[in-house]
């Protein structure tokens, strides 16, 4: 019986005009999102490669490791282009230093403001905004529409249980909604392969999981609109109700929760933290200058001076570096804790909205969640240690100044400085997250989506048990 009802529901939608329009629009949007994504990926890959080679060729002209200004770059990832998340907001370039705090700058949006205007056109946008709208379009008159057309009475004059009927509605319309997503999605996957975008097996699985969570997501919207259609007797009214739910889920709740969270958990802004850091550095600099003066006053300028000066310089550098590190660390940690707390509140509140839950889940799967910056900074910091060790071996000082005294008469042809060998530099390789790690981060929100589906469907079912079919 259920099979007959699912099949009928599916066919009823497939034959309808609203389906043709939906299919056309979604095919266009999904394929466009793939195309735009692929082009963006290719472009940012080109930028990435050229930035890397400029970095290397600049260094290659140097003859002394002391003058090296090394940069590392965040490599674009194919999935980030389909599920943008924060990928375009986070800086892509880091000035590598032997010591000291590293920062990211040069984000996609800061370089390409026009790109920021069209930030929405990724696959995730299409699922989160467009498909949820299609879901309510498919579900808003599920029950009351059939009552209005009198078919409900005709159906229930047969040996049909209400459970079968409403399950048929849900499954039928989910299937009908999967079609306009999966068909252009498969075309998009072919495009990815055709354009030669390197996607690993892990990333294919992540993409599959993202699509599956998309099904769960619009399943929730179908369930809620079926519920509404079983509570409200007129289909025109239930459409309005469903639309209101959609607006709240997509627009109002996520934005409001961020506002509310920033009220609940106050975080000092970045400028204030920077000011604190600058103040500390100025104090340090003043102290250091004082020490240096004292050293110079008591110094004797003989042959050993340059060595003694460098040793002294290194030792105070080390001390100040240590001081600075602990202070900055404390400051950063404090700020991060507050920020995390605020974020947690924002996320907690926003999870009233299925759209937010889906966005959190999918960005976790794609690795473009808000922790992206943190994860990347960790990778860069790890590299910094490697880089620092390497530079130390090359005799680069810890920072500050360095005095080299050369006797001018002894210069010969052989001592002509040779260019440095850049390839000796340790390579920065960012390890990509595997499926298991991404999935485990997404699990709570996927669980929420499952629970939401069950709860909303149960609500619809209970409402339908009391529904007057006449």
């Amino acid at each position: 019986m259920l099979r007959i009802l699912v099949e009928k529901e599916l066919r009823d939608i497939l034959y309808s005009t609203k389906f043709s329009i939906t299919f056309g629009a979604s095919a266009l949007l999904v394929m466009l999102s793939f195309y735009v994504g692929i082009r963006n990926y290719q472009e940012s890959m080109r930028e990435y490669e050229s930035a890397k080679s400029v970095n290397v060729s600049t260094m290659a002209t140097l003859t002394d490791w002391n003058g090296v200004q090394h940069k590392v770059f965040r490599e674009p990832e194919p999935l980030q282009v389909l599920v943008n998340g924060v990928a375009n907001d986070v800086g892509r370039t880091t000035d590598m230093r032997v010591r000291g705090e590293l920062s990211l700058f040069n984000s996609r949006y800061s370089v390409d403001p026009l790109f920021a205007v069209f930030r929405f056109l990724d696959l995730n946008f299409v699922i989160a905004i467009v498909f949820s709208l299609f879901a309510i379009l498919f579900g808003y008159d599920a029950i009351n529409g059939e009552k209005e057309s009198g078919t409900l009475k005709l159906v229930f004059s047969n040996a049909v249980s209400r459970a079968d009927f409403i399950l048929g509605k849900l499954f039928g319309s989910i299937l009908a909604l999967i079609v306009p997503l999966i068909v252009p999605f498969l075309v998009g996957c072919l495009m990815v392969i055709g354009f030669g975008v390197p996607i690993s097996a892990d990333e294919w699985i992540k993409l599959l999981l993202i699509i599956l969570s998309g099904f769960l997501y619009f399943g929730a919207f179908l369930a809620v609109s079926i519920f509404i259609s079983a509570v409200v007797s007129k289909s025109s009214v239930s459409f309005l109700f469903s639309l209101v739910v959609w607006i709240f889920s997509v627009l109002i709740i996520p934005k409001t929760s961020i506002l509310v969270a920033s009220q609940i958990a106050k975080v000092p802004n970045v400028d204030a933290v920077d000011a604190q850091k600058r103040k500390f550095l100025n104090q340090q600099l003043a102290g250091r200058q004082q020490k240096m003066q004292q050293f110079m006053q008591s110094a004797t300028f003989d042959e050993g001076f340059s060595n003694r000066f460098n040793a002294f310089n290194d030792s105070i550098s080390k001390i100040y570096e240590k001081e600075r590190e602990t202070f900055f660390q404390r400051l950063n940690e404090d700020w991060r804790n507050k920020k995390e707390w605020q974020e947690r509140w924002a996320f907690r509140l926003s999870r009233i909205s299925p759209t937010a839950i889906y966005q959190i889940a999918s960005s976790n799967l794609a690795g473009t969640d808000v922790a992206l910056k943190q994860r990347y900074l960790e990778a860069v910091n790890k590299y910094q240690e490697q880089f620092g060790e390497f530079m130390m071996k090359k005799g680069v000082s810890m920072g500050g100044m360095r005095v080299v005294i050369r006797s001018s008469g002894q210069q010969t042809q052989e001592e002509q400085p040779k260019p440095i060998n850049v390839s000796e530099l340790p390579q920065f390789v960012e390890t990509r997250e595997n499926v298991a790690a991404a999935f485990s981060r997404a699990v709570p929100d996927l669980g929420f989506l499952v629970v939401l589906n069950i709860v909303l469907f149960a609500a619809g079912f209970v409402a339908f048990l009391k529904f007057d079919v006449r």
Binding site: K8, S149, T151, K153, L154, N158, A159, R470
Partner: protein, 244 residues
Amino acid sequence: MEQHATISAEGLTKIYEDGVCALDHVSFAVKPGEIFCLLGGNGAGKTTAINIFLGFIPPSQGVAKIHNVDIHRDPLEAKKYVSYLSDVVMLYPNFTARQNLDFFARLGGKHALTRDDYYTALRRVGLQEKAFEQKLKGFSKGMRQKVGLAIAIIKESPAIILDEPTSGLDPKAANEFQTTLLGLRAQGKAILMSTHDIFRAKEIADTVGIMNEGKMLAIKSRKELEHEDLEQLYLNYIHGKVAA
């Protein structure tokens, strides 16, 4: 006698939530091969009785049975033996006549029907051939009603319940409809239909139940009606009731 009835009401009473008594201890029975007309004016309680027989609403008192199964006790079992046609049949506008028929046939437990079976049923109710594979969207009321009747026929259930099936049909269509019903009676179906139409009731019914304000005033067989003017009888009963 009661045992043989395919459709039977015993002391059926319905009081709606707002206190309206739409049915007041109504009893009747429809045997195989019998057409039973519920005759009554607006608000007499005909639709209420039919809705109880289909399990759409529970009775306040009394029992409604189809094929000897209490519809309220075991609705899914009882509904296997009944097919239904209402006064306004919209059906699924995106499906063709055949697709509508196909869906409802399978709901009614007919899984192995072929296209020819559907066409036969549609021909039997007099739908023009070219409409068989057309979407219901553009169908007139009469055409939809024909598809609805085909749906009721194809289930091959022993009981058929029709709520004012000919209201809004033109005379020719109503006549065709009547012919089909007579064919079904010849097949041994028990048919319960409601109507306002005294003349049609007299023409087609084996038994007429005259209803007013929720009460069954009289049940007359064809034989009893042969020498009487049903219209006069009907008015007499109603006025008699009003006067009483």
